[in-house]
């Protein structure tokens, strides 16, 4: 399942959403917002998203993961809008019959999510300047 939300990610709810008696393992990954990047301090972050495409691409990602691994349930939740340092911006929960599968699948999902899902992050630096983060593109 896929969810985009502007509210705080409820990690307990995310865990419960993938729990199943067929599963012997549940892995939960959280991506949390850093306060320090290099030598710069983050005041807050804003996430922009092309929602219809992001949902479509995340559904494709889940389908590909299910082809590659024997998983029971997958839940990918991405936060949008305004976040403060220390908050979870993304949560990925995977349940599977055995733990190796859940770890591998969860790792693959977060690595893949950062390549092709149209979600962007703006750093609002503590010094009052702002910067959209675009890997591979110099500002």
């Amino acid at each position: 399942m896929i969810n985009l939300t502007r509210d705080t990610i409820d990690t307990q709810q995310v865990l419960e959403s993938v729990q199943d008696t067929r599963a012997g393992a549940v892995v939960l990954f959280l991506g949390t917002t850093r306060s320090i990047t290099g030598d710069r301090e983050t005041g807050s972050l804003d996430y922009d998203c092309y929602e219809s495409m992001a949902i479509r691409k995340l559904e494709q990602l889940e389908a590909e993961a299910r082809r590659q691994w024997d998983v029971v349930e997958i839940n990918i939740v991405h936060r949008l809008g305004h976040l403060l340092p220390g908050e979870a911006s993304v949560a990925i929960a995977v349940s599977s019959p055995h733990r190796g599968t859940a770890f591998e699948c969860g790792q693959w999902l977060i690595d893949s999510l950062k390549e092709d899902i149209p979600i962007w992050k703006k750093e609002n630096w503590a010094d009052g300047t702002h910067q959209w983060v675009h890997p591979g593109m110099e500002d």
């Binding site: 850093r34 495409m53 911006s89 950062k114 979600i119 962007w120 959209w132 591979g136």
Partner: protein, 83 residues
Amino acid sequence: MTLRIKLFAVAMQKAGTTDLEVECSLPANVGEIKQLVVDTCPPLSEILPHCRFAVDDEFASDDTVITEQASVAIIPPVSGGAC
């Protein structure tokens, strides 16, 4: 006709709008529309080489055909997640 192209993140910032309107005749392919985007909004020229286009919520190549009904967006390099 007028084609509305959705802009996000740095593309939105450079253009100063979330929807860029480009005058063109459709159908046309993405490569042709890219040139019109630069002509319409010169500030996008420096970032466009780093961006992909999406047509109907899928990544498109320069050969992808844009019809009158198509949903078109410029997709700058993504930075989702936070780890």
